[in-house]
């Protein structure tokens, strides 16, 4: 590997670590630097790679200020390469973030096919994870569970190097089991995920596992544990600006306190949730009387 490539690979690794730690601004600066260097060196392959990585970071930041057609151009120009497979994966993520689920599914399947063709385990595992998430969004829990299981096996087979991705797949698989009322299988998978993510300092990925454990404990009416995990999920959701996590945390915490008979605290969370829906003034009134726990999908 040339010194130039080594330097850019170092930038990518450092940026990836920053993303897992939740420091997206730092990751974006590193990818911008790498992209400028690749362009300066007229290295098309590295430029494509950094273009994909930069777009992934922006998607994580809930930003859409990147050129999606540029990613599709990379896919068309390099259909049989790692960059082509990665571009398909990022396109799928971009369409998912825009709520364009059928397009997201098309690109995720393309990414999966191409990553299998080039025998790239990490991208195969993360593509499976993305496809499974799209199934979950459509409430197809059994199909999602099977895909997450395959993703987990693929990522686990790579040992320590992919342990963060593996932990995310483990949490998703655990959530599927919890939603399917197999808490005995699901909860240990989520606990394993949290433990790995915590040990690797991947704080930004710990919000969903915390939320999933809160949900599991609400289902089993282990309310003290539900409260503990709900507060943790809420804190992480607020820290990393994840509105879906924050809303679900407020709802599950309100239900928890309501079941505990701690009405002032329940009201506090019902109010916080109702603030997101100003055109539905009677929402809190309904939520105090009707439980939605049996119909909720935390990944929809």
């Amino acid at each position: 590997m040339s010194d130039r490539r080594k330097h850019l690979e170092f930038l990518r690794r450092t940026a990836k670590d920053a993303i897992w730690a939740g420091d997206y601004d730092r990751a974006l600066v590193l990818y911008d630097d790498g992209l400028a260097l690749a362009r300066g060196w007229k290295d098309r392959g590295l430029e494509d790679l950094f273009t994909c990585n930069r777009a992934t970071t922006l998607i994580e930041m809930d930003r859409q200020d990147f050129d999606l057609s540029r990613l599709k151009e990379i896919l068309l120009r390099s259909p049989s390469s790692f960059n082509g497979a990665l571009a398909a994966y990022v396109c799928a993520n971009a369409h998912e973030a825009r709520g364009e689920y059928s397009r997201a599914r098309f690109y995720a399947q393309t990414a999966l096919q191409k990553s299998r063709d080039i025998r790239h385990d990490e991208l195969t595992g993360t593509s499976l994870n993305l496809l499974a998430n799209l199934e979950l969004h459509e409430s197809r829990f059994e199909e999602a569970r099977d895909l997450f299981q395959e993703a987990l096996e693929r990522l686990d087979s790579q040992g320590e190097s992919l342990s963060r991705q593996s932990a995310v797949a483990s949490d998703n698989l655990g959530y599927c089991h919890i939603a399917l009322d197999r808490l005995d299988v699901g909860v240990p998978l989520v606990q394993r995920s949290l433990s790995v993510l915590e040990s690797l300092g991947a704080r930004q990925a710990m919000d969903y596992p915390a939320l999933d454990l809160c949900f599991a404990h609400v289902k089993t009416r282990q309310l003290g544990d539900a409260e503990e995990w709900g507060l943790r999920a809420l804190g992480l959701g607020e820290e990393f600006g994840r509105q879906d996590v924050v809303k679900n945390s407020h709802y599950l915490l309100a239900e928890t306190y309501s079941e505990m008979g701690r009405e002032p605290e329940a009201d506090e969370h019902y109010d916080a949730l109702a603030n997101y829906y100003p055109d539905f003034p009677a929402l809190k009134h309904y939520l105090r009387e009707i439980s939605l726990v049996g119909m909720i999908n935390l990944r929809a």
Binding site: S139, F141, S258, F280, A282, S291, M295, A300
Partner: protein, 127 residues
């Protein structure tokens, strides 16, 4: 971890109840699915208890039905209960300042009635 008993206080929203409420509103599956932003086949799965959705969609369902609590409990609501529920709902939709004004006005009316000695009779009770 200690398990606590299930509270019977709340009514649980389930698919079969959504079907009953939809039929009570004379809505077809297509009409309701369009109003809450899902496909008709997904609504059908939801009514069968197979389809779970996010909070945004669940709240849209509650909003479309504009439920009376008694409907959910399968009870008949008295006119006074309905009036009270509607008042609470309208009150909750007000800003903080407006709520304070409403409270002040209620206090004023109570003081006025106390000053008169007897509460004013309701309109329909007058001879």
């Amino acid at each position: 971890m200690s398990s606590q008993p299930l509270s019977p206080r709340k009514v649980h929203l389930v698919g079969s109840r959504i079907r009953e409420l939809r039929k009570g509103r004379h809505l077809t599956q297509t009409e309701l699915s369009e109003r809450i932003g899902i496909t008709q086949s997904d609504l059908s799965r939801m009514e069968q208890g197979e389809y779970k959705v996010g909070l945004d969609t669940l709240f849209k369902i509650l909003q479309v039905f504009d439920l009376k609590m008694s409907e959910f409990f399968g009870e008949t609501e008295s006119p006074q209960e309905e009036e009270a529920r509607e008042l609470v709902s309208e009150f909750q939709g007000l800003s903080g300042d407006s709520r304070r004004e409403v409270r002040d006005f209620v206090r004023f009316k109570k003081l006025q009635e106390q000053a008169l000695g007897e509460p004013l009779p309701a309109e329909e009770e007058k001879p």
